[in-house]
Every structure is written in C-alpha cells, then in structure tokens.
C-alpha cells in the first residue's frame, strides 16, 4: 500500500475529534449499562455503592470509563509508531485476559493439568498437523500441476478432488474416513484417519493456491527455460516453483494456521489432542471453563508461532526480491 508522503496533524490530537470520541464513548458506556458487570461493580466501590445503582451512578461510571478511554488514546497518539504498536497490542491482550479472569478460574487446577495437556495434547496436535501439512503440500503441488496440464484424466481427477474436499465440511470428512473406510474392510486408526482427512481437505484448498501461484509466473519464463533445453520437471522444480513460492507463502501460512486449529476436529474420533483433553479433563470436577480456556490459549500461542515462521519466510523472500 502507498503511504502518503504528506502528513497532517494527528487525528487523535484534534480537540474536535477527541470531543466526539468522548461523547460517543460516553453514550456507548451509558447505553450498555455496565453497572452490574464486574467492571461496574469494582468502579461502584470507588464512587460509593449508594449512587452506583441509579441513572446518576450509571452516568458517572460511563463518564469515568469514557474519560479513561479518551485519555488513553490521546496519550498513545504521542508515541512513535513501534511503541504504539506494542502498547495497543498489549492493552487489547490485557482486556482479553481480563475477560478470562471474570470466570474465577481455579489456577491450581489448570497448573495441575497443564503438564499432561502439553506432553500429550500439544504434542499430538503438533505432529498430526505437521504430518498433515507435509502431505497436503505434496497433494497441492500434484493437484496444481494436474489442473494446469492438458491431460483429460488428470484435470478431471484434480477437479473432482478439489470440488469434493472443498465442498464437504471437514468434520464430515473425518467421519467418512474413520467410519466409512471400515465398511470397505479397511479399519483405520483414529490418528491416520484424522491425518488423512486434514491432508485431503487442506490439499484441496492449497491446490488452488499453488495453481494461482504457478499461473502468476510469466509465460516467458517457461519459454526461456524450454528453449534452453530444460524438460518440464526441471523447469517446474528449478525455474517456476522457486519464483512461485514467494507468491504462495502468505496464503499457505493462512492455511497452515487454519489447519492447526481445525486439527481440533479429529477430537471427535478420540484422538488425544488439545481439544479432546480440554473437553474431557475438566469433566470429572465440572471445571470445563478452566480447560477450555487453557486450550484456547494454547491454540493461540501455537498460531502465533506459525505466524512468526510465516513472517520470517516472507522477510527472507523480500530480502531476496529486493536484491
């Protein structure tokens, strides 16, 4: 995106804007009536419990919240970009974590289960995803080449494959493979069935990404390569794919993150990954929320790991492209 080279006054330091923001925030906080939420109750003790319940107290609470909100934004407005990034990110994260706190979670319980959650659940989630990612990568390359070929069989098979596996809900694919294949006489274990469903489904999505990536390389690259005497496979491997990969990486990163989370669907066939453990470990003591929130945080952290990997790969190709 092009960032304009003309810089005006910062919007968040214009009095009119701040006033409008304050008015909007006040109206919002007043309208949603936070008096009975845990936030409102903790504020009520500050302004005196007696007045907090009525409209007057409701107004004062909204006033305080709006003032904090506007002051926060005005202060952040003074920071340099990188600091803004960090501060805003952290504030949003704190608000989100505060949302978890209101459940009055039992942290000792979480800590007691965390080890098994990681050793069993995270490890299973990670290796199921990793295997599925590798297989889907291969399927996607094969599917993309088939779709771009001039072989009727290959095109038809690839089309049918992407249509079917993009068209069925992943959950249904998991069931079809795990419960359907035994009808043909092949009894598959839960983990291979789950890996197969994930690979086939994401292979189908990524086929389209790879096809678009390969098609984005100019025809002249093919012609130059073939004119030098390179065969099709060599051209694909050494000339076309290396150029297509920078185009393919961002959407593929998206798919991998989505797959990591969708690996939770294989919990339905009894694979002991994060989601399965989250649903079962709290059952005995009715501490469902603890485990579900723990699992949520685990997925988030794993996704952030994948995001970091993706941005490093992108940075690598940017550096190469800039040369």
């Amino acid at each position: 995106m092009h960032i304009d080279t003309v810089v005006g006054d910062r919007l968040v330091h214009k009095p009119k804007f701040l006033a409008a923001l304050f008015a909007a925030a006040f109206a919002l906080f007043f309208a949603i009536n936070v008096s009975d939420t845990s936030l409102g109750i903790s504020l009520a003790s500050l302004i005196g419990n007696m007045v907090a319940g009525d409209a007057y107290g409701r107004g004062i609470i909204a006033l305080i919240l709006a003032a904090i909100f506007v002051a926060d934004i005005a202060i952040i407005g003074f920071l340099p970009l990188r600091a803004q990034l960090i501060v805003v990110w952290l504030q949003l994260a704190v608000l989100f974590l505060a949302f978890f706190l209101v459940f009055h979670l039992s942290f000792p319980f979480i800590l007691s289960k965390l080890r098994f959650m990681i050793v069993q659940g995270v490890v299973t989630t990670l290796y199921v995803s990793a295997i599925a990612i590798s297989i889907s990568f291969m399927l996607a390359i094969a599917g993309a080449i088939a779709k771009l070929s001039n072989n009727g069989f290959a095109i038809a098979i690839a089309n049918f494959y992407t249509s079917l596996f993009r068209g069925l809900p992943l959950l249904m694919q998991v069931y079809l493979i795990y419960l359907g294949l035994p009808q043909l006489g092949y009894v598959v274990d839960a983990i291979p069935a789950g890996v197969a469903a994930l690979s086939l489904c994401y292979g189908a999505y990524m086929t389209e990404i790879f096809r678009a990536g390969i098609e984005s390389i100019p025809k002249g690259q093919w012609e130059a390569s073939r004119a030098l005497g390179f065969k099709f496979g060599l051209t694909m491997r050494r000339i076309i794919l290396p150029q297509a990969i920078p185009v393919i990486v961002p959407p593929t990163g998206n798919q991998f993150i989505a797959m990591l989370k969708d690996s939770s669907l294989v919990s339905v066939i009894g694979v002991w990954e994060v989601m399965f453990l989250a649903r079962t470990m709290g059952t005995k003591t009715f501490q469902h929320m603890e485990m579900l929130i723990t699992a949520a945080m685990i997925y988030w952290i794993l996704s952030m790991g994948l995001e970091a990997v993706q941005s490093r790969i992108e940075a690598y190709y940017r550096r190469r492209g800039a040369r």
Partner: protein
C-alpha cells in the same frame, strides 16, 4: 553430418561452405484458430548465414522463428533442424532446443538466479558439465558481451541492455548451432540498443548462424546476408541487403521501408 570444408572464412559467404541447410522450412502453414499466421513458408538457412526477418507487426515473423525451436507448433509442411524433423510426437525436442539459442524481446532471464547462475544452469543441468567448467565458460562469454563484472548480480539490478547481453551469453553457453533473435532491441531504451547490436555484430563476425527478427535496418544492412520481408504470413521478398534497401521489388516492401525509414 559432414563437416563444412575448411575454405569457409568468417567474412565470405559461408552459405556455400555446407551443402545441407542447417534449417530447412518447407511449405509451412500455421493457424491460430481461424487466423492463418503463416502461409506456405519455405526457407533454407545454411551454416554461417545471417538472416534478418522484418515486416509489419502481425506479419508472422515472430511466429516463424518460434516454430523453429517449436515454442509454437506448425500445422502443415515440414521444418527440419540439422537433419531432425520437428513434429507433434517427437521424443526429445530438448536435444534440438539445446542446439538452438533463443533471445527474447523481454530478455526472460531467471530473476531468482544471479547472472552467473543464469549462465551455468543449462550446461550443468542439461549437458552435465561440471560446475567449475560451466563457470569458466560463463565468465568467458560474459567477457565476450563485456559485462564480466556483473556476474554475481541479479537480473533486476542490471539495465535492459545489460540484461539482454546476459540473455545472449546465456544462449551461447549451450554452444548452439543457430541463434534466433526475436526483436531483441524492441524493449530497450534507445541508448541501450547499440550495446546489444554490438554484441550481435560480434557474434555474426564469429561465423554464427543467425536469424534475427528486428527493425534495426542499420544492423540488417551491416550484418545480414539476406533480408526477408514478411507480410500477412507470407514471405513477400527475399534479397541481399543492398538490393533490399536500394531496389525493393514489391510495392508492400516499398511501403514498409518508406514507413520505417521516413524519420
């Protein structure tokens, strides 16, 4: 294949040095859908001959040379390259292509490889030449097109003229028998045209068989053995450069020359 008699020199008409043409095109026609791009083209090119193809855009000259290494397929007639006929079901088109160098209007260097890697790729991957040998050959050729100092840069860091000279060197790395040029200077800024034409002239002086699609009439006059004028898919006129420019026979040639030489 008989080796040419040794009487051939760089300057003399090398076409007489070998009886058998290195490229033989007989009655070739080609259609793009309903549009006929080539109409019954016949052309023999002998070893060491330099041919310039010119004509208005859409006249089929690019299509013709793209048929010579089968980047395009012809539908009727016969194309024989060094004794090998090109057709739909041939098994190793790569062998023929490796003997024909091609330089494109848009250079088509591989942007993810350095200049040196662009040059060493084909000898190493197709011919199985060792890396050391391929690098030596590449450096020799980069010196020949006068840009050895750019060897470790990426194509995007070079000017258009430099890129096109790299593309010429890349084709020469395969030691081709014939070089095809498809409007090699048309995408260049004016001040870079001459450096590319100089490299092509050097190549012509070394005795390379060349077929050039170009509108550079000065180059045609100085280098070509024959100038061929094409229009609407046909060869309209085939002549020595002197006769072609001084005494064009066909009214279509006269019109074309008057249009491009007006300024």
């Amino acid at each position: 294949m008989n080796p040419p008699p040794t009487v051939a020199t760089d300057e003399s008409g090398a076409s007489e040095s070998s009886r058998q043409p290195v490229i033989s095109v007989k009655n070739v026609s080609k259609w793009f859908g309903a549009f006929q791009a080539l109409k019954n083209i016949s052309l023999d090119v002998h070893r060491g001959e330099r041919i310039v193809l010119c004509g208005p855009s859409g006249s089929g000259k690019s299509t013709l040379i793209r048929c010579l290494n089968r980047l395009e397929a012809h539908q009727e007639g016969e194309i024989i390259i060094d004794g090998v006929a090109l057709h739909n079901r041939m098994r190793n088109i790569e062998v023929v292509r490796a003997e024909i160098g091609m330089v494109f209007q848009q250079f088509n260097l591989f942007p993810h490889m350095t200049v040196l890697e662009n040059l060493t790729a084909a000898p190493m991957w197709v011919k199985g030449v060792s890396k050391g040998e391929a690098v030596d050959l590449a450096m020799t050729l980069l010196e020949r097109v006068r840009i050895p100092e750019q060897a470790n840069k990426y194509p995007s860091q070079l000017s258009g003229g430099q890129q096109q000279r790299v593309a010429i060197a890349r084709s020469l790395c395969m030691n081709p028998k014939v070089m095809l040029f498809d409007e090699p200077t048309s995408a260049l800024d004016p001040e870079m045209v001459s450096e590319v034409l100089d490299a092509m002239t050097d190549l012509a002086k070394s005795g390379m068989t060349m077929i050039c699609v170009t509108h550079e009439m000065g180059f045609a006059r100085a280098v070509a053995d024959q100038v061929i004028f094409m229009d609407r898919g046909e060869i309209v006129e085939k002549n020595s450069p002197t006769n072609f420019f001084m005494n064009p026979q066909s009214p279509r040639t006269q019109l074309f020359l008057s249009q491009i030489l007006r300024h």
